[in-house]
């Protein structure tokens, strides 16, 4: 299988800042894609949903992990799925949810999308290897 193209699904459970695991997940994905493999999708769960915030604004000498995820997903055309219930509890909201909840602001970044845990089941079914960070 080493020489074959492998489909990965990735579960990110850590915040973009404060712990390293989301950065590790990003480097893993970038490396897998560089080696010619495929990412079926990245599912953001638990603290991982904070990677989807468009308001993350680190200093200029630091990397912006949400930007990195967005650029990688656009370049290689894979979805960034963010668990909606984990998101709402942690203050990650898209325009539609904001409207439903009567919130005047939202913060979900493009191309991250809020989705249900069923989406994780689909990513689990679709891939050759599931990796959790």
């Amino acid at each position: 299988m080493d020489q074959q193209k492998v489909k990965f699904s990735i579960v990110v459970s850590g915040a973009p800042y404060g712990s390293q695991s989301a950065s590790t997940a990003y480097q893993f994905c970038a490396s897998a894609l560089l080696a010619g493999h495929e990412i079926s999708g990245v599912f953001f769960y638990q603290e991982g949903v904070l990677n989807a915030s468009q308001l993350v604004s680190p200093a200029t000498d630091e990397i912006n992990l949400p930007d990195f995820w967005a650029a990688l997903a656009v370049q290689y055309n894979f979805p960034l799925e963010v668990c909606v219930s984990a998101s709402l509890r942690r203050g990650i909201v898209d325009p539609q949810e904001a409207q439903q909840l009567s919130l005047e602001q939202f913060n979900l970044k493009t191309p991250f999308v809020l989705s249900g845990l069923g989406q994780l089941a689909e990513l689990s079914a679709a891939c050759d290897r599931l990796v959790q960070f």
């Binding site: 590790t24 480097q27 080696a35 599931l130």
Partner: protein
């Protein structure tokens, strides 16, 4: 065949200890993030880790060693490319 990834220091958590309790003979252990320190300094589970290293089943992510300015005494260093291949070679992964 399971790839176990451990990411916390054996001086701070029992993740490595609890992982070793479940590590089967066909499994591989990959130390990442703060857990790389387990390959540098002696701790309560160092002898067992050494045994796994001698069996060729202990890997250490080199970029995390470099980040912390340390070198491993046991285990085989690997980069992200190797990490990807380790995942491919194993049926499943447990993140500790």
């Amino acid at each position: 065949m399971i790839l176990h990834t451990v990411k916390t220091s054996p001086f701070q958590t029992l993740a490595l200890h609890n992982c070793l309790n479940l590590l089967a003979e066909a499994d591989t252990l990959l130390l990442i993030e703060d857990a790389v320190i387990a390959s540098c300094a002696e701790h309560a589970d160092y002898l067992q880790l050494q045994k796994i290293s001698q069996q060729g089943r202990l890997m250490v992510l080199s970029s995390d060693l470099e980040a912390r300015g340390v070198n491993n005494n046991i285990g085989k260093t690997c980069d992200y490319h190797d990490f990807v291949n380790l995942v491919i070679k194993h049926k499943s992964q447990i993140s500790w």
